[in-house]
């Protein structure tokens, strides 16, 4: 069993540290959260360092990378910046497009990255009445007499949806009925007539805004369908497990950033004539955090390693995502406690991290859905 990193992984981590130090100082991050966007400068630098291409296949100009490295990259990016960034969500949408799309469809990835460092595509999946209950979606594509298709419906919680040039949309073929399990994926330019977006204000994670997307008689052609007719859901499901790993990796990085800050503060802050880090109750908070961080880290890397071995992590990642995202919120909560009153202000970033981490419990599937998946799978594993 080898817990070490390769030279290349260590150098990647150093590059991420340098990147974060240059573009994510406190003032820049504050502005990014106010502007609801990571700065164009930081997005372009991310592109220039080749980071968005990690995990994409060579055929589309990507850098094929194992899951462990992508998880490491995500964790460290979030720890070093202490901020939510749109990059890994953008990478997942591109990875879907590259894996399931034709060469012509996936060529838009590099075309767009040549223009700017902004993410290329956003996945439109959830609907107002179909979040966890995906079969409840009612958006449809209907084939017309002239061979084109017309899309109608509404998607919601589309991360980066207003900022990307392309939308990767899943909807039902022809019939919105619950019984209809034929769904197809479509690659739609966001500026297509009939597509509009409306901003939704989140509690946190303001740097990765999400939107409602409305499709009002949007005409698409057959060459915009990604993958086979009626196959869309099966395709998307293939990457759900990995997406959940990255949600945990993001939370782990942010929770670690909060812990780094809180321990430094506890060492500096004097109360009753000594640093508060010498107080056993403060030490309890610190060690509870460390236990969560280490447990979730090694469990996460075990999941990523299993993915690299080609094994399913359906139940593993469901349990980790349910427990881990709640535990990471607890870490940030403990960090606020260590700071005391100061932790409840905008003067320090642990409160912002706390708000951001609440969203990770929902992203990629709620804790309750994760528990449902694991609850069915675990007994089956005991024969």
């Amino acid at each position: 069993m080898d817990f070490g990193l390769t030279d290349e992984q260590e150098l990647l981590v150093e590059s991420l540290k340098e990147y974060a130090d240059r573009y994510f100082d406190d003032e820049s991050v504050r502005q990014m959260y106010e502007n609801h966007q990571v700065s164009a400068e930081a997005q372009d630098a991310y592109r220039d360092a080749g980071f968005p291409f990690m995990g994409l296949p060579e055929e589309v100009g990507g850098i094929p990378t194992d899951h462990v490295t992508l998880g490491l990259m995500t964790e460290k990016l979030y720890e070093f910046t202490g901020a939510m960034t749109p990059f890994m969500t953008g990478m997942l949408a591109c990875a879907d497009l590259a894996e399931f799309g034709t060469p012509e469809q996936s060529s838009v990835i590099m075309e767009e990255y040549e223009k700017s460092g902004q993410s290329v595509a956003a996945l439109c999946l959830s609907e107002p009445a179909a979040g966890s209950d995906n079969m409840g979606m009612t958006m449809t594509s209907k084939k017309q007499a002239d061979g084109t298709y017309v899309l109608n419906g509404q998607k919601t919680w589309v991360t980066n949806g207003a900022d990307v040039p392309y939308l990767l949309v899943i909807c039902k073929d022809e019939d919105p009925a619950r019984e209809n399990n034929k769904m197809s994926l479509w690659l739609v330019k966001r500026d297509t007539p009939g597509v509009s977006t409306a901003h939704l204000t989140k509690l946190g994670q303001h740097t990765v805004p999400f939107v409602d997307v409305f499709f009002d008689n949007v005409v698409v052609t057959e060459d915009q369908r990604v993958g086979g007719e009626g196959n869309g859901w099966l395709l998307l499901m293939k990457n759900f497990e990995f997406e959940r790993c990255l949600v945990v990796a993001q939370g782990l990085g942010l929770a670690q950033a909060a812990q780094n800050d809180a321990i430094q503060y506890a060492k500096d802050r004097i109360a009753f004539n000594k640093p508060i880090v010498t107080n056993p109750r403060v030490q309890d908070l610190i060690t509870e955090n460390e236990t969560i961080l280490q447990q979730s880290r090694w469990w996460l890397y075990y999941c990523l390693w299993k993915l690299d071995q080609g094994e399913s992590i359906n139940a593993d990642i469901a349990m980790l995502k349910s427990w881990g995202t709640r535990a990471h919120l607890q870490v940030a909560d403990n960090c606020i406690e260590i700071y005391g009153g100061l932790g409840y202000t905008d003067e320090v970033r642990v409160g912002r991290i706390w708000r951001d981490l609440r969203g990770n419990m929902l992203a990629g599937g709620t804790c309750e859905v994760m528990d449902y998946i694991a609850g069915r799978a675990v007994p089956k594993a005991y024969k």
Partner: protein, 250 residues
């Protein structure tokens, strides 16, 4: 165009600790590229890219520098090939000795060079002398504190930023030039460059013959800590505080 850049590998100064006897404890310090040399590497890489050139890195370091990670780090920054001489006698080598070793590397591997770039000074000794000594050994012109450079035919036009003017100087090639840190911001090596680095040619050799030094090192000790005065001023008495600061600055 063939550009050579001299790179020193040093212990990361963030992890060097002073022991009780004022000796330096390097046991926790990993090997890194000497900070100012990353600016020289970037300047060399940009110059090569603009002039259809190649860049080779040369290094005279201790055997600790023969580390796969630090070599890949050098090669991930726009360098085509690395030639290193690694010998523990170089631990306390002076500028003269280092320059002689670098000259040996150049003569053996890159004698057809057009330009040699050096950083502002090493992160450990910061004598800023190796560029001059290397130029003397190679019998070529040298110019230092350069803040900008471009190639024009068979010469380089360099800028030196002085207090009230920017000096522009033409230097015939071949030459040795040392650059100020602000000459170029080091790139952030991406995964593509990091992965390619391991496949680039690099060679490490021991020192041929004994090291000739001009400076003898007797001992290396951290300076003694000056005890703090712990002078506390009454709250609000800013005038007394200001007067004390002014007195100390005299």
């Amino acid at each position: 165009m063939k550009i050579v850049v001299a790179v020193k590998v040093v212990a990361d100064d963030q992890d060097i600790f002073v022991s009780g006897d004022r000796s330096l404890d390097y046991s926790k310090a990993r090997q890194i590229i000497s900070t100012y040399d990353t600016n020289a590497i970037e300047a060399a890489a940009q110059l090569a890219a603009d002039n259809d050139g190649t860049v080779v890195a040369i290094s005279a370091s201790t055997t600790k520098a023969d580390d796969t990670k630090v070599k890949k780090d050098i090669l991930s920054r726009g360098i085509d090939e690395l030639f290193m001489v690694a010998d523990d006698s170089l631990e306390t080598a002076d500028s003269y000795a280092t320059a002689q070793v670098l000259k040996g590397i150049v003569d053996a591997n890159a004698s057809d060079y057009d330009l040699i770039l050096c950083g502002d000074g090493s992160a450990d000794l910061y004598a800023g002398q190796v560029d001059v000594q290397l130029a003397a050994a190679l019998d070529v012109p040298v110019i230092n504190e350069v803040t900008g450079l471009k190639v024009e035919g068979d010469k380089v036009v360099v800028e030196r930023t002085l207090e009230d003017e920017v000096e522009e100087i033409e230097v015939p090639l071949p030459a040795v030039i040392s650059v100020s840190p602000n000459v170029a911001t080091p790139r952030i090596p991406g995964m593509r460059e990091i992965l390619a680095a391991g496949k680039k040619p690099s060679s490490v050799e021991g020192l041929a013959g004994a090291l000739e030094t001009k400076v003898e090192v007797e001992d290396i000790k951290a300076p003694e800590m000056t005890p703090r005065k712990n002078e506390i001023f009454a709250e609000g008495d800013i005038d007394a505080f200001a007067a004390a600061v002014a007195e100390a600055l005299k």
